[in-house]
Symmetry: C2
């Protein structure tokens, strides 16, 4: 069956949260039983045309997800940036190249929206992810700083 890439719908949220939680880092911080905050976040994303929560599906199964944010900025002569967050591919489908298809779809969305750069950060511990993004042509030119409030 063919893969489909489309904006997430409210009914996809449990499957997306399950993907976020099925991960060494996500397992420590997500709570799939807490539906309210996830649905509120979905509404904020879905109501803003500069955010796109994307799912990759096959039939009724959500096999992958990521969030794209299209960000205006003055830097680089007023360039728009495409920012990728919360990338996950279902564990059962790893090694089939689905992550690459998902990212390439996202990169094409950024191109279609006139972005001149795609950016993302990834935890230093995700060594496999580093190799994955480098294979796709990304360069780790920056350090990603976080401050918890």
């Amino acid at each position: 069956m063919d893969l489909t890439f489309r904006p997430a719908r409210a009914e996809d949220i449990p499957a997306i949260v399950a993907l976020l939680a099925d991960d060494p880092l996500g397992a420590q911080r997500e709570d799939p039983a807490a539906t309210g905050p996830y649905l509120a976040a979905f509404k904020a994303i879905d109501s803003d045309p500069n955010h796109l929560l994307l799912v990759m599906t096959r039939g009724d199964d959500v096999l992958g997800t990521l969030q794209l944010s299209f960000l205006p900025g003055l830097s680089h002569r007023g360039a728009w940036r495409g920012q990728v967050e919360a990338v996950r591919v279902a564990r059962s489908t790893r090694g089939q190249g689905l992550g690459e298809l998902l990212l390439n779809h996202a990169i094409n969305e950024c191109r279609a929206r006139g972005c001149t750069v795609v950016q993302l950060t990834t935890d230093r511990s995700r060594v496999d992810a580093h190799r994955f993004y480098e294979r796709l042509g990304f360069s780790a030119t920056h350090l990603g700083y976080k401050l918890k409030l």
Copy 2:
């Protein structure tokens, strides 16, 4: 004279672009004479309540700037993130602690907007910036990847 922190206005854009360009990396990519793209970017930022282009002024002088973006997301139980981009402090005022005041103002804005994390990336070559952000409590937990389109 006292420092003021406020949203940028269209008439501040030349001063902001001058700050962006007065920098080893910015000098290679900004073109202060090209006003159109910068004003278009300003309009996109200014018309979206989830973006704030901030200036730090003293009298008529723009002494610092940064852009804040408030980003919804499913991760971390639907947490909002505050993202900082394009931080600059006027060269003539360096070493007076103004950068710290500017960032602390931004962090407080993020807190007021209910963000649970503040994030930014900085070029690996900006070693002074790394020390600066670490002093403010940020941790370089991530790698920042870019892909030029």
